[in-house]
Amino acid sequence: MREILTECVHDAGWRLDSVDTAAAARSAAASAEYNLALLDLGLPDGEGIELIADLRRAGFIAPILVISARASVEDRVIALDNGADDYLVKPFSQIELLARCRAMLRRLESRMANEIVVGALAFDTRTGAVRIAGETISMAPRERSVLDLLLRSAGRVVPKERIETALSEFGDEISTNAVELAISRLRRRLANFDPGIAFETIRGVGYMLRENTRDA
């Protein structure tokens, strides 16, 4: 499995250090800086979950993508609670593996570059500037705040309460449909620019910003 994974990652044009024990992983994490770690939970000399917790305690900050045969929700929750950033259940395709790796690397790069890019939309987290295909889009502060929140959690659902909290920071008393209004304005504002993103309403839960799939 390790050899095939190594080959997949090399094919994507990335460099990879591969080890086959928990002890070797601890030693590698301590001796070099990595952008991403892929970890198979089935290790010959210990539990992968313990290794993640140890690495986090030791100050290892790179994202960790767990690869596991254990498919239950409980196993996923345990891994994520112990410091993993994502969880991929076997079997998976090379495309899915690399897409997950890219997403994690992109988040890391965005964090470092202070820019979040989803679809054709780029958001500068320091200035709040929004650009689509190089063109700057003007936006009201409330819309920008909601967009910032949704972009930071792109591909995940943001509870409505969190958006309300973000809007309430502007001081004014917010109306019961303030969130709906803000999302509606955002949709209208971006409608003419083909941003390659969609604002999905998860009724009774919240909103989700996600990259448009062309075959949708």
């Binding site: 045969a69 498919a71 929700v73 259940v89 079997p91 009724r203 989700m208 996600r210």
Partner: protein, 446 residues
């Protein structure tokens, strides 16, 4: 348990019936013994007949001032002049006759009037049955001696049998009834006290978790014989624990041993740019899904209630919808959540989340694109996953038969609900929303 209650008798009932049975047998033997002792001893029987009759006649004596009056008791009506078979003479120590129905029999069989008789005397008039006897008994009335003498020449009113009946009552019925009451009461009380730890253990057994080695039947205070049975049950539970632990390891191992080579095959196949490779990839996905379902079933076989806690079902449903929404929208479906009121249930969070996910995944996988799914909670202890695929006439054929992957997925949900003492209520009708309702046991139903 209710079936068992209706079918089998309680130990107290069994013991009570047996005690009564053996007591009846003992009473029958005692009755036979009393009969033999009295019936074949004519002398004693005669004496007892005199005593019984004298006591009966004595009830007619009425003290009036210094004098004594006599009224023959109704049940002693045989002592009148019309009946020669029974004669009596009641007199004082001074020789005064108080009552008499004497005829020639008195002169023949009673003591002369000049003689002061002993306190009790009797004499058989002839041997054998029916008993003929003469005798008398002395009584004290207001400091005066009263002699009641009588003779039974022909016992046509069966005084002998009355004597025997009295003997049965005095020697058998009264002492045996008292003894039986104490014996039965004491036995039942002892049983109740002795069985209290057993009743407690039976109640505890309902909630014993075989996967918790510390959770076993409490044998303290049990009678030794029942404690041995309890000990055997505990040993069986320990074996069940070993089996279930082994099965857990087996399930984990199977998952790893099968999924890892599948992952390797899929990674290798993804490098091939051929339509056939995609078909094999799809087959691998199906196989992986099947392995997932089988391992989930295996995990459920050894699941227990030790991890149960109080859960906010609405919060759990909302969180699950939030977690799975990206996957749902990636497949061109949509999802919403509706809360009809706060609902709290006792359960295992990951398992309930698994059940909800299973239902949502089924709704997405087995309906056409664009299906709208709704997860609703309440108002009672229930959660419903419904979709609008059934409302679209052209999609009726899209709902799969229950013997494919959906069947196993629903079986997993059913088992999860059974573990929660709840149930799955499916409702699939053409032209209506398809709904799968998870109904939980009410709080406190345990």
């Amino acid at each position: 348990m209710p079936e068992l209650r209706g079918r089998s008798a309680t130990l107290s009932r069994i013991v009570a019936i047996r005690v009564l049975l053996f007591a009846s047998l003992a009473m029958a033997l005692q009755a036979a013994s009393i009969f033999i002792t009295h019936y074949f001893d004519d002398q004693q029987l005669g004496s007892m007949m005199v005593e019984l009759e004298a006591n009966g006649l004595f009830r007619g004596i009425i003290a009036q001032g210094d004098g004594i009056r006599y009224v023959l008791p109704e049940h002693m009506a045989r002592y009148t002049r019309q009946d020669d078979a029974y004669v009596t003479r009641i007199r004082s120590s001074e020789g005064q006759i108080i009552y008499s129905d004497c005829n020639v029999i008195c002169d023949e069989h009673l003591l002369p009037q000049q003689v002061n008789p002993p306190d009790h005397w009797s004499r058989l008039l002839h041997q054998g049955k029916p008993i003929s006897v003469a005798g008398g008994q002395a009584f004290d009335v207001q400091g005066q001696r009263i002699f009641i003498e009588l003779a039974i020449v022909n016992d046509h009113e069966l005084v002998m049998w009355q004597v025997l009946e009295r003997a049965f009552i005095d020697d058998l019925a009264v002492p045996m009834t008292l003894m039986l009451a104490f014996l039965l009461g004491g036995t039942l009380l002892s049983l109740r006290v002795a069985l209290r730890p057993v009743e407690r253990a039976a109640a505890d057994a309902e909630n014993v978790d075989p996967l918790n080695p510390a959770d076993r039947l409490n044998l303290e205070g049990m009678p030794r014989e029942i404690a041995e049975l309890g000990d055997a049950v505990n040993r069986t539970l320990a074996r069940v624990y070993d089996m279930m632990t082994g099965q857990r390891l087996f399930v984990a191992a199977i998952a790893h041993e099968v999924r890892t080579p599948l992952a390797m095959m899929k990674l290798e196949l993804s490098k091939l740019d051929q339509p056939r490779a995609r078909k094999v990839e799809a087959a691998i996905d199906d196989l992986a899904h099947l392995v997932g379902q089988l391992t989930a079933l295996g995990r459920l076989e050894c699941a227990d209630r030790s991890g149960f806690s109080s859960l906010d079902l609405a919060a759990l449903g909302r969180q699950t919808v939030a977690d799975i929404a990206p996957w749902v929208y990636d497949r061109q479906a949509s999802i919403a959540f509706v809360e009809h009121g706060p609902v709290s249930v006792i359960g295992n969070r990951p398992l309930i989340e698994d059940a909800i996910r299973n239902l949502i995944e089924n709704a997405v996988k087995h309906t056409p694109k664009g299906v709208a799914i709704e997860v609703s909670v309440g108002p009672s202890e229930s959660l419903t996953v419904s979709d609008d695929a059934g409302l679209l006439a052209s999609t009726e054929q899209a709902r799969p038969e229950p013997n494919d992957g959906v069947g196993m997925g629903l079986e997993i949900v059913r088992r999860i609900m059974a573990l929660h003492r709840g149930r799955l209520e499916p409702a699939v009708r053409a032209g209506a929303r398809t709904s799968m309702r998870l109904v939980f046991a009410e709080r406190g139903a345990d």
